[in-house]
Symmetry: C2
Subunit: 138 residues, 2 copies
């Protein structure tokens, strides 16, 4: 596990620091998406708030994690699959938010369908979020 963390950081040409290791580890261990608050809760007093922000920003830039849109104004992050390159997220999967456990889950195997747009609109990217009940809460 620690090996995997180090490897991912190296692959992305990031120096191996405590905060990055710890935060990346959290993502690898978590089955759902994490918010900034989740991360602060889990790391306790280990890191400065600013460090967490900057670490998350860095990870997004490098394509290690991606953002998930929400209706409340909270930002959620989740691990990208391997085919994400810096600046080029190739994620095209649906996200699921469970109303019971509040977990946000990447449905990596469910692709976002194309939609036909009215004339003039040119799409570059789509996001889809489904809310409901997950398997464990049903």
């Amino acid at each position: 596990m620690n090996n995997e963390v180090t490897q991912i950081l190296k692959q992305n040409r990031l120096s191996i620091t405590g905060s990055r290791q710890k935060i990346l580890e959290l993502f690898l261990l978590s089955d759902g998406a994490l918010s900034h608050a989740d991360i602060e809760k889990n790391t306790g007093e280990s890191f400065d708030r600013v460090t967490v922000y900057r670490t998350l920003q860095t990870f997004v830039e490098k394509g290690i994690i991606h953002l998930i849109p929400t209706t409340d104004n909270s930002i959620k992050y989740a691990l990208c699959k391997n085919d994400c390159a810096p600046g080029h997220h190739h994620d095209n999967h649906v996200h699921f938010i469970c109303g019971e456990c509040e977990k946000t889950i990447c449905l990596d195997d469910v692709n976002i369908p194309m939609v036909k747009l009215p004339g003039g609109f040119t799409p570059t990217r789509s996001e889809m979020v489904v809310t409901g009940t997950c398997g464990e809460c049903k």
Copy 2:
């Protein structure tokens, strides 16, 4: 116009106050979605920040406007079509965010497609946001 505003408020059993009239009017005049900041900008010094927050909350509860999910943590609101009842938003349309003019537009005629979810997941509601370039910016 003012008539329409009053009518909508009455239909929803809301008292007719200056802030509600003004804010609802803004939504009727606007072709896209509005953020809290947009509204503050447009109303100038007319209303307290808190009043705007509370008015928007009320409108959402009554089903007059609906929230639009975003990846940055900004909240956008847009008018609901007539078939929204208090607590029951029947909106099922795709939202489009133009990267040029930054406008958020309700594509009322584009329905969110169904997707097949993995076993165990039960959907109750879907959101879809497409980013790209709108007709005017192309």
